[in-house]
């Protein structure tokens, strides 16, 4: 059961990370094309930079950053200070670990619900980006994908931290 859940969380985190990576590479490719296009502007042959590339970059980058959150959560990539780690008894460390994972789950859930509220606002007002005039809610909707994955993976991490309290689980499972 736990194995299946782990594979599920790992699958979500990896797929979203690669999706975000593909977005990054798309941003790089479009930026390079746009810069090359800009070089042709003085020739006046109708080739120029991509219109609204900055709007696209911002929106796509937000989607990528949201998509990167789950892998960071799953593989414990958050910045922490390890000053007193070794001086704490293991049992205390595990309780704190569970607590912090649960808090991260809470933060992820509230943050995503508020993002969804923001999405509804932007759909209602029909706000668009300045130059490309893309609806801003597109960016919010794209961000929801990664944010939802973040909740699911944070949920799994909380479960994992809870199971780690049991000695039998620690012995039975390799540390994943």
């Amino acid at each position: 059961m736990y194995r299946t859940l782990y594979r599920g969380a790992d699958f979500i985190a990896q797929v979203l990370a690669y999706l975000g990576g593909a977005i990054l590479i798309a941003i790089i490719a479009m930026t390079v094309v746009s810069i090359i296009g800009r070089l042709f502007v003085p020739l006046q042959i109708g080739i120029g930079p991509i219109r609204g590339i900055y709007d696209f970059t911002s929106m796509a980058m937000a989607a990528a950053v949201f998509a990167f959150l789950p892998i960071c959560q799953l593989r414990q990539g958050h910045a922490v200070v390890d000053l007193f780690e070794r001086r704490m008894p293991d049992s205390v460390g595990r309780i704190l670990d569970l607590l912090f994972n649960a808090m991260m789950l809470g933060a992820a859930t509230i943050g995503t619900l508020r993002l969804f509220a923001g999405l509804q606002d932007k759909m209602a007002t029909g706000e668009t980006t300045q130059i490309a005039e893309m609806p801003v809610w597109w960016g919010y909707a794209a961000g929801m994908v990664g944010a939802t994955g973040f909740i699911l993976v944070a949920g799994f991490c909380t479960l994992r931290a809870a199971l780690m309290m049991s000695e039998r689980f620690r012995e039975a499972q390799p540390h994943v």
């Binding site: 790089i28 390079v32 970059t57 980058m61 990167f68 960071c72 959560q73 958050h78």
Partner: protein, 440 residues
């Protein structure tokens, strides 16, 4: 409890949570949301802000430079350029006393010009140079110390992720900051090389010499590192001369290093996937900290702490230089235990208004550049000091037979050159600023 007291008490609470090993970003969010709740009596304001704050932070065009630089650093890491740089540096320096360690530092400086992260630089150059250092009989302490210190050149030499963050926080020109970082970065490399040279003279038996390399081969080795020079010139020069925005320059740099790696046959599917996963983790970590610091600083702003603190410091009639030294020493001490990025994000919004209200006899623009470089150096020293020097841990994990105590001891001479450099750059701001002035 007044709002001001709340803000003051939030610092020890934040530190306490962080020392319990709560992720730093989460601790900032908790203190920021909790503090705001206490000040205005309801969580509604924060909840309202959160509708657009997270998306607004993640979609900020200025911040989009960060993932691109991180990916560029990953491509540089797999490209094999680190090995070419090391060979080129070794062909010039290898036959000198301490030459292999000096070459490692020189190669780190070159790698720092295309990589904005200290840990990546230390890890990459460690893999390349550590075997050779051991082969030539360098003591473990000198080997790991030199590589850990050399790694900090990744961030001291532009491009640099921390400088980007600082520039955005205090609304400075990223292009000018990058230029201002060049001379101090080169001085850092020079200082490390001098430290090695002194070391091998104090302990003459500590290293074997490499054979002298003829000039023909030296030039050949040098010719192989041209992509590094081209990419650095395109990125930093392109930003400075206004050819690109910083984000565009980072995209060009990532494309360039990616192509170099791909044409060198080093960027297969597995390397690409690894590069993306590493970039994804670092990006998520950094953006969560940026978000957390934003929420926490909103709370501090609400309590007027930055203004009150600036006014208080102004009223005390301290000499500006005295305040500056205190601030730098505090950064140095905190840097030993805190993550440098978190520290910059947490403190600069409070410290910068205080510092810029003091008169150092220079224009606000110049002050912003100079202070940024000083802060960058002092927070990076924390990477090579105990107890939480990340660069030391990374290098030490590659050489399990060297006790961590030796690595700490080996880093000490390099820390001393860092401190010496901070003192010199503080006393003579013109060293940092002259290149900016010259190019203006």
């Amino acid at each position: 409890m007044s709002n001001f007291d709340l803000a003051l008490w939030s610092f020890p609470v934040l530190l306490f949570l962080v020392f319990l090993r709560m992720p730093i970003a989460l601790a900032m969010i908790v203190c920021g949301v909790g503090g705001t709740w206490l000040v205005i009596g309801t969580p509604m304001m924060t909840l309202n802000q959160l509708k657009s704050l997270t998306y607004g932070t993640f979609s900020n065009y200025s911040f989009s430079i960060i993932p691109l630089f991180l990916l560029m650093g990953q491509f540089a890491t797999v490209s094999g350029m680190s090995a070419d740089l090391f060979r080129a540096a070794a062909s010039f320096l290898g036959h000198r006393r301490g030459g292999v360690a000096m070459s490692a530092v020189g190669a780190c400086a070159g790698f720092g010009a295309i990589c904005g992260s200290s840990l990546a630089t230390a890890a990459t150059m460690g893999r390349v140079a550590l075997p050779e250092l051991r082969q030539y009989g360098y003591p473990g302490s000198l080997s790991t110390g030199a590589l850990a210190a050399g790694g900090t050149l990744g961030i001291l030499i532009p491009p640099s992720v921390i400088l980007v963050i600082y520039a955005i926080l205090v609304e400075q020109n990223i292009e000018k900051l990058f230029v201002a970082a060049i001379i101090p970065g080169l001085l850092a490399a020079l200082g490390y090389i001098v430290a090695i040279s002194i070391w091998v003279r104090v302990y003459p038996n500590s290293a074997a010499l490499r054979d002298r390399v003829p000039w023909g081969e030296r030039l050949q080795a040098l010719a192989k590192v041209w992509p590094v020079l081209v990419i650095f010139a395109a990125v930093v020069g392109g930003i400075y001369f206004g050819v690109f925005t910083p984000t565009e320059a980072a995209a060009v740099g990532a494309a360039g290093t990616g192509l170099v790696a791909a044409f060198g046959g080093k960027l297969g599917w597995s390397e690409l996937r690894e590069s993306i996963l590493t970039t994804a983790m670092s990006t998520a970590m950094i953006f969560l900290i940026i978000l957390g610091a934003g929420i926490y600083n909103n709370f501090l702003g609400l309590t007027q702490l930055p203004q009150t603190a600036a006014a208080w410091v102004g009223d005390q009639g301290f000499s500006p230089w005295f305040v500056l030294w205190i601030v730098l020493v505090m950064y140095l001490l905190f840097g030993c235990v805190m993550d440098s990025l978190s520290m910059v994000l947490l403190t600069v919004p409070i410290v910068f208004p205080i510092m810029s209200s003091l008169d150092f006899g220079m224009s606000p623009g110049d002050f912003g550049l100079w202070f940024g470089i000083l802060v960058l150096i002092v927070v990076e020293v924390g990477l090579i000091t105990p107890p939480v020097g990340m660069n030391l841990f990374i290098i030490n994990s590659m050489a399990r037979d060297i006790p961590i105590r030796d690595t700490y001891a080996g880093a000490l001479p390099f820390v001393l050159t860092d401190i010496l450099r901070v003192i010199v750059l503080t006393l003579f701001p013109a060293i940092t600023l002259s290149l900016v002035w010259a190019l203006n």
